[in-house]
């Protein structure tokens, strides 16, 4: 029922949050390092994440498709009706049966599983000894599977409802109702003009990121570098016609500023920290505008919704140990994203406001990393090229409105 049963289908946002405008689990440590003049660096980052759980508004762990698991009540059936006459017909049936808005026919069920892999080639070049520029071009391959169902309950109410409709002498209504009660999500999505919720696999270009780093200060122990970056809208936002979609981008431009500090404790130990702020620039976008506060599923699309995604602040701290090509590290990060803002002229402002629900995000995560490099050997002329490979595990330890599943990454670097 997209809402037959008026169902909340926020899963699309959750799924897309893996790689689009929402908070993402970090997969590397902050670093103040810049490349020496004329040195080029090509790194290939491979990221792998699943999405099956999320942290909700209260920080509780729920399944990704939690919004699909919804009781089917007279209230939701009533809310889903567009015309006064249809609403009155639901009221009339409810009154005739002596029921109230909270009486339930059962509940809809749904599960969404996402696996996404990003390949991110990053090319960096040392313009001067202080300035390094880089470009990251992510290619995102995603696999999404969805299954929906229903658990019918209250057989008496069920049969009374069907009998009442049968007595009305409109078999189409009976068949429609039986379909909606047996396939609530699919039927409602169809009614609301969504594409059928089926699994899909995609391979898409993500948002290209251009980075400039400037080394502000450096001595034997400390290095401070500031960073500016631009994220271009080269990825594809979630399809407004799909209830669950893995987006490779968010169709808008971001500007970022940051500073990173490295502190060398010894030849083997170093600490690094970074603080960044990212402005997500306002734009216009096609959005489904909720009909009710408790559900995102809606037939109404404003193709020109004014959107201002919340800005993001992040803080990262990490410790690294490196000895003769062996590398270990651990880090912590905190990210916070402001609430998104939406407005438009096509529907009431209250409905645009409902779109902003659960868009404020926070994420705390821990990272551990391990890897090898040949820099030590290269300097000793014992290896033909300076290479580095690192494996990272990121675990989301707390947050609100973010995907909870861990992130795995492999980062291969080559300097030439």
């Amino acid at each position: 029922m997209k809402k037959i049963i008026s169902l909340t289908l926020g899963a699309s946002l959750l799924a897309s949050s893996c790689f689009a405008g929402d908070l993402k689990a970090p997969f590397s440590f902050p670093t103040a390092k810049v490349l020496p003049k004329g040195i080029r660096n090509l790194s290939m980052k491979g990221l792998f994440a699943r999405a099956s759980q999320r942290l909700d508004e209260n920080g509780e762990t729920v399944v990704l498709a939690n919004a699909l698991n919804s009781t089917i009540t007279f209230q939701k059936v009533y809310d889903s009706k567009k015309t006064d006459f249809d609403k009155a017909s639901i009221l009339n049936v409810m009154h005739r049966l002596g029921k109230d808005f909270d009486d339930s026919f059962g509940y809809s069920t749904g599960d969404v599983r996402v696996a996404a892999t990003a390949r991110v080639p990053v090319f960096a070049f040392g313009l001067t000894n202080k300035i390094t520029i880089a470009a990251a071009v992510p290619v995102i391959k995603s696999s999404m599977r969805i299954k929906t169902g229903v658990v019918q309950q209250n057989e008496d109410l069920h049969s009374q409802m069907i009998q009442t409709l049968n007595q009305s002498g409109v078999p189409s209504k009976v068949v429609e109702t039986m379909n909606k009660l047996s396939m609530p999500i699919t039927e409602k999505l169809n009614e609301y003009g969504y594409l059928a919720p089926v699994g899909e696999e995609k391979d898409e270009l993500g948002d290209i990121k251009l980075v400039g780093k400037y080394n502000n200060y450096q001595d034997d122990k400390v290095m401070i570098t500031s960073q500016v970056d631009v994220t271009l809208p080269t990825g594809k936002d979630a399809n407004v016609m799909e209830v669950v979609d893995v987006a490779s981008g968010d169709d808008q431009t971001d500007l970022g500023l940051g500073v990173a500090v490295d502190y060398k404790l010894s030849d083997s130990f170093s600490f690094s920290g970074g603080f960044g702020y990212q402005w997500q620039l306002a734009d216009s976008n096609a959005e489904r505008i909720p009909e009710v506060s408790y559900s995102r599923a809606t037939p109404d699309i404003d193709w020109n919704t004014k959107r201002d995604l919340g800005n993001v602040a992040n803080l990262q701290l990490a410790g690294n140990w490196s000895y003769k090509g062996f590398n270990l590290g651990a880090g912590y990060s905190y990210q916070s994203k402001e609430k998104d803002r939406y407005s438009g002229n096509q529907f009431s402002s209250e409905r645009y406001e409902w779109l902003t629900q659960e868009t404020k995000q926070e994420m705390q995560s821990m990272q551990v990393t391990a890897g090898l490099d040949t820099i030590y050997l290269f300097r000793k002329k014992a290896f033909p090229a300076p290479l580095k490979i690192m494996f990272t595990y990121t675990n989301v330890i707390d947050g609100i409105n973010v995907v909870k599943d861990p992130l795995y990454s492999v980062d291969f670097n080559m300097y030439f």
Binding site: A115, A116, R145, P171, L181, F412, M414
Partner: protein, 386 residues
């Protein structure tokens, strides 16, 4: 370096081919019910038994509606309808200007629906009651035949020569002076007789009293059922009139026509024909379709029954088809003087008293002034055989 490139490329491909896990959900549904199809074996009377042709008001139509139906000339009918609905507390008792528009439009719509549903409900109920009534009449007749009503003779005091002076009064004919001998044939008439005073010691008295008691009981049961039958019939009529009353009041505050009435078996046109619909033998086309329609004395530009039929072109684009949902449907366009009904009705059939019905609860109504509304179009027929 070549090996490094191979390694680099292999890293790119490592990330390929990861699939999401298979989702798992709970699922349980009750056994589905089915609808009775309208088959070629169904025999349906071509004459329309009852018809409903109404336009459903929208918010702007009821915005200016001020109406206190429970305190006016139609109060009895509204009260009758409301007292027969156990959810009448949810329906508006009056319409005022400061009433929230949601409450006003939902209330008006629900009154139309409540009236329709109680008419159907009581039609079914009447059929049951009439069967009960017939059965009870059979019981009374059986009792009359077996209880020896005619064994008790009654003589008039003025004619002592005709027998034992066991005298009765014939209340029905008291003014005539009890001139004739009477014999009790039926329970219905039994109550018309009573004994004169001081005859309780007579040999026939006990038998008389027993029959009197039994007849009274049986007759009371009959009367009780009959009272309910008459009440149900009255409520069905009240329900219809309440809808017409509400729609007529709505017409007063708009420029639209909200209700039409068709000449049917239940409500014939006293001087003309009744409406009819004739299907082909395979029930997949319509051979004849004519409606005799009149309007309320409100906003209609034309009052008085007139024919709207395939023959005169005012019913057109008629087709019978089976929808994607497997429901047989009748589609047609009905051109009335002030509006056009585009009907795409479900055909349903069940045993009498409901019988065969053609219903579109969301017909498109296009008014000549450019406004559009939804309407309810319903025709009912008797079924001879399912």
């Amino acid at each position: 370096m070549k090996n490094l490139n191979v390694f680099l490329l292999s890293l790119i491909f490592i990330s390929c081919g990861r699939l999401a896990q298979v989702p798992v959900v709970e699922n349980f549904t009750f056994e589905e019910q089915t609808v009775i199809p309208f088959s070629t074996n169904s025999l349906v009377s071509p004459m329309v038994r009852a018809a409903t042709i109404v336009v459903v008001p929208e918010r702007e139509d009821v915005k200016g509606l001020v109406f206190n139906p429970l305190d006016g000339s139609t109060a009895a009918e509204w009260t009758d309808l409301y007292s027969n609905l156990d959810y009448s507390d949810y329906l508006p008792g009056e319409f005022t200007l400061d009433m929230p528009i949601d409450q006003k439009i939902l209330g008006a719509s629900e009154i139309v629906m409540a009236a329709g549903s109680i008419r159907d409900q009581y039609l079914r109920n009447l059929s049951t009651l009439e069967s009960e009534f017939s059965q009870k009449e059979e019981d009374v007749r059986a009792y009359e035949d077996s209880a020896g009503l005619t064994d008790i003779t009654c003589y008039y005091a003025s004619r002592p020569s005709r027998g034992t002076p066991y005298t009765c009064r014939f209340d029905e004919d008291a003014a005539s002076g009890f001139t004739r001998t009477k014999t009790f044939y039926s329970c219905e008439n039994w109550v018309l007789f009573s004994l004169d005073a001081n005859q309780e010691v007579h040999v026939q008295f006990q038998k008389y009293a027993e029959i009197a008691q039994n007849c009274e009981g049986l007759q009371a049961e009959l009367d009780e059922i009959n009272t309910i039958i008459q009440s149900r019939k009255l409520t069905r009529l009240s329900a219809e009139n309440v809808v017409l009353d509400l729609l007529l009041e709505t017409e007063k505050v708009t420029d639209l026509v909200f209700a039409a009435k068709a000449a049917t078996i239940e409500k014939p046109d006293s001087i003309g024909e009744e409406s009819s619909l004739v299907f082909s033998a395979d029930k997949m086309s319509v051979e004849e379709f004519k409606l005799f329609v009149d309007f309320l004395p409100g906003n209609s530009s034309k009052v008085g029954y007139a024919e709207y039929s395939i023959a005169n072109g005012l019913i057109r684009d008629v087709s019978v088809y089976v929808s994607d949902l497997g429901v047989k449907k009748l589609k047609f366009t009905l051109e009335l003087p002030d509006m056009t009904f585009v009907v795409n009705a479900d055909i349903s059939v069940e045993k009498m008293p409901i019988g065969f019905r053609v219903i579109d609860s969301a017909a498109k109504v296009e008014f000549n002034n450019g406004k559009s509304r939804k309407g309810v179009f319903k025709l009912e027929f008797d079924t001879v055989k399912l």
